[in-house]
């Protein structure tokens, strides 16, 4: 079950700067913490997060242990044409996730 949230303006005009906001459910375990029994909790952060808009990659990020759990990112893209924003990520445990949202561009 997808556990991410992408927020876009409902409708934008071609050429507009569009604010994209995404939050992802992830523990972002630093690898420095220990559990109740004193064992180290293995590091598990989002190693790579990418966003494609149409056939172009518009964001590539490496989120390390300095980012809090459930990361929230905000960035801007230029509206070119209607299409999907596709986010894909992979964490240190090798688990992949993806989420998409449709951007509707008028005019």
């Amino acid at each position: 079950m997808a556990f991410a949230r992408i927020q876009l303006p409902p409708s934008v005009k071609r050429g507009d700067a569009v604010e994209v906001r995404v939050s992802i459910r992830h523990p972002m375990e630093t690898g420095f913490r220990v559990d109740d029994d004193g064992r180290t909790i293995a590091r598990n952060t989002l190693k790579s997060l990418t966003c494609r808009y149409g056939d172009r990659e518009v964001l590539r990020a490496s989120l390390g242990s300095g980012i809090a759990a459930n990361p929230y990112l905000r960035f801007h893209i230029t509206a070119v044409a209607s299409g999907d924003l596709v986010f894909e990520w992979i964490d240190d445990a090798g688990e992949r996730g993806d989420a998409r949202a449709a951007l509707v561009v008028a005019g």
Binding site: M1, F3, R5, S23, R25, N70
Partner: protein, 254 residues
């Protein structure tokens, strides 16, 4: 296993407080009013509020499966509106006070014929947050009369009774010293209207019972298991104390 965390900070044992048993505070202030501007801003903006991740997941669960919640209850925006303001409530079927989590699990077992969610599981918290969000902004109004009254009175006594190695009652902090400082924290009136809430300390959405257990851990009292009657009844008493405060779920707390 759920870590309850150290929340009701230590150090208040020496304060030596008198108790006003069960008296509701004259002026009720939601916990969010005690929070800093940054926390208030996160709660106010659904785009930033991490609790909305759970609400989204709850919405997916609402529509999930062959006997989905939506199959009977339809659109939660209308059918679940106001449900959170009247829970916890007496359940004639269970013959005990049930909170929203219990109510969801009862429906899941009896109507959906699926295994109950574990208490404090991500799915149960997500579905509870989703249901509670439908009552957002509505004033809390629980029924503490009739069959619920004995439970209410037990919880009122629990609230006023000193316990744990710190020898503190709930009321020692949240009635007698609300608004004062406890180390870096301002003591709130201890209302539950933001729950299920995203606590920055937990980095997750948790139930009010998890918060209550964290407070009991803080005063070094014995911890009732999750879902225990004593906690559910305490939730009822807290809801009565918070009468009139708006439901904020999913709230954001430190």
């Amino acid at each position: 296993m759920t870590r309850v965390g150290f929340a009701c900070a230590a150090g208040a044992a020496a304060l030596g407080l008198a108790l006003v048993a069960g008296a509701a505070p004259a002026a009720s202030r939601s916990g969010i009013d005690y929070a800093g501007a940054d926390v208030r801003a996160i709660q106010a903006d659904d785009a930033q509020n991490p609790g909305m991740l759970w609400v989204d997941r709850g919405r997916a669960l609402w529509n999930d499966g062959p006997r989905a919640c939506a199959g009977c209850h339809g659109d939660a925006a209308s059918s679940m509106k106001g449900v959170a303001v009247r829970h916890p409530a007496w359940s004639a079927a269970a013959r005990r006070v049930v909170d929203l989590e219990d109510r969801i699990n009862a429906c899941r077992v009896e109507r959906q014929r699926r295994p109950a969610f574990a208490r404090e599981s991500e799915d149960l918290n997500a579905l509870t947050a989703f249901v509670a969000t439908q009552s957002r902004g509505m004033p809390i109004a629980v029924d503490v009369t009739g069959p619920a009254q004995p439970a209410f009175e037990r919880a009122r006594d629990f609230y006023a009774t000193r316990r744990g190695q710190m020898n503190l009652a709930c009321a020692s902090c949240h009635v007698e010293n609300a608004g004062k400082r406890l180390l870096a924290e301002t003591i709130s009136e201890g209302h539950g209207n933001g729950y299920p809430a995203y606590r920055l300390e937990w980095q997750a959405v948790g139930s009010l019972q998890r918060r209550l257990r964290a407070c009991l851990y803080g005063i070094r009292a014995s911890l009732p298991p999750e879902g225990a009657d004593v906690l559910t009844e305490l939730e009822l008493y807290l809801a009565w104390r918070a009468s009139g405060l708006p439901v904020e779920a999913p709230g954001v707390r430190r």
